[in-house]
Symmetry: C3
Subunit: 229 residues, 3 copies
């Protein structure tokens, strides 16, 4: 999973953990290699780790992620990780696409026919955010509705379940456990099973570090328990 042939020159232990547990991580059940690639790419974009990104974008394509899906991940994470992260990732992606002969014509167009919105759920979400923060940052509230939940999330080039997967992964990788609850629930509403969510946490432990995952575990526990009732 890593170009680890040189790691042993500076850390034989790290090479062993890479060849063993990290390598086996990708073969564990409950989360496909494609999904693991989505999670990993989201971590790298969320933490702006561009030097590792090229390798994992290539692996993602090998694991069955479509170029169009990567294209949508970039736009999605611009909002969730910040524009500079997405622009830096886009530059790396351009190199990967170019070397593989992937042309822009294969990618989802700028304006796509949007998926239908769940008006009732969206109205509840918007009302809650308006009530909480409408007087604090009205423009943030408005952009959240117009750009995120009535545009970005409805673009058909990346399934809602996959948008949730990269969002939750990026949030945990950025240390934003406090806002994971809404998106983990949304991910499970969008079809992510609890076994998959648990395995996302396992994958993130290795790629985003144990502390970020341990900060997210109480949130995940509360979400799982509330949904089991």
């Amino acid at each position: 999973m890593q170009s680890n042939h040189d790691v042993g020159l500076v850390s034989p232990a790290l090479e062993r953990y890479t060849r063993g547990p990290l390598n086996e991580l990708w073969k564990r059940p409950d989360l496909s290699p494609r999904d693991r690639s989505l999670v990993t790419v989201a971590v790298l974009i969320g933490r702006n780790q561009t030097s590792e990104l090229s390798q994992y974008l290539n692996l993602a394509l090998d694991n069955g992620l479509e170029p169009g899906e990567i294209s949508e991940v970039l736009a999605h994470l611009a909002f969730y990780c910040g524009w500079p992260n997405a622009m830096a990732a886009a530059a790396v992606t351009q190199g990967v696409f170019s070397r593989r002969g992937i042309e822009a014509g294969r990618l989802p167009p700028a304006h796509a026919e949007l998926l239908p919105v769940d008006e009732a759920a969206e109205a509840r979400r918007a009302a809650g955010v308006q009530r909480d923060f409408g007087a604090v940052a009205p423009a943030v509230v408005q952009y959240t509705t117009d750009l995120l939940f009535r545009d970005l999330w409805l673009r058909p080039g990346l399934a809602p379940r996959d948008r949730s997967l990269v969002t939750v992964s990026a949030l945990i990788a950025m240390g934003q456990a406090g806002v994971v609850s809404y998106h983990l629930n949304r991910a499970m509403d969008n079809g992510l099973t609890q076994a998959q969510a648990s395995e996302v946490l396992t994958h993130l432990a290795f790629y985003a570090g144990w502390p970020n995952v341990f900060s997210a575990l109480p949130v995940a526990k509360a979400v799982f328990e509330a949904r089991a009732k």
Copy 2:
């Protein structure tokens, strides 16, 4: 705002969001392009995103930020983001200044005549920190007084309101919503209006990502409400 001519090759959607909403963001009222540049540069230094920094330093200078102000931002954010972030940013800044022929003689000197300190407010701040943490980390408490509040913050090369602006921006961008309250209050004491603070949050949503801003919204709400009483 971004060299986005190539982004469309990998993400037509991201290019559209960049040419549209992100571009328009910079033209919104309530926060000047100069202030938006301060916010953006603080984000990039706070998150060590040096590859985007050169472009935004040039934009900042085009938007009216003085070289001497950028010079002070570097020193200021060394303390608030960590020395490695400031040193990496200084290296990028050197390239920008060099290409524009900006010489060190135009910059604020190492030792400047300091602004007057508000002795009563500073005594209250120092006493609070001493009471809370004097026994835990006495050297941190002492440095906070000597280096930050009786030196750095009083340097005249960057207005206190602008120091607050970059501090609040960096804190939110680094995911440190927990310590935003003191500095947002200080920013507003230093002249940042609520409309400007709200627009800073809007700008940060795009540049530091939605989750960091949503983590800061409850803190901003509490500050705004407490000051309205």
Copy 3:
């Protein structure tokens, strides 16, 4: 401590703070230059600041840190900061080791005879994590036992006290104050004195920024006070 000869060209103030307080920081009592190097390297790996890492790895070796200890730090922080951080740091380390003629034969082997485990303490730790999160992320819980506490932490190439030192430093530098409590207690159980821990916080203020340290101060205070009883 920094190649700061050019910093004065863009920020005379930053150069003054670097030549003065930052330089003197390294000479303060209660924490040796070697320990300060461990803390600083942990910050840089935790925040993926590879461009500064080479300089500080060289300083660490000059300050008496053994190549084998650096080798173990890399493996240790793979788990605590995430694999991409460790792999990027390994690449930088390879350059440093190569230039100094440090060969892999001098490094701790992949499989080492492990230190004895404190079975009672480890059983308590494992039971607590199992009780809290066993149903949420069983694989994370199992890996935490098998890979971290019954393998990594017992490798003899880096003393438990030093593993704790880099863990605590990385946690604070990554803004993970919420999970510092366990590891700060463990650090002090492993021999870190309160005076050293306090000085670690002082060092981190400069290298990871004031906000990360102020977020950690309440946690450190609670730990110090609980241990004083």
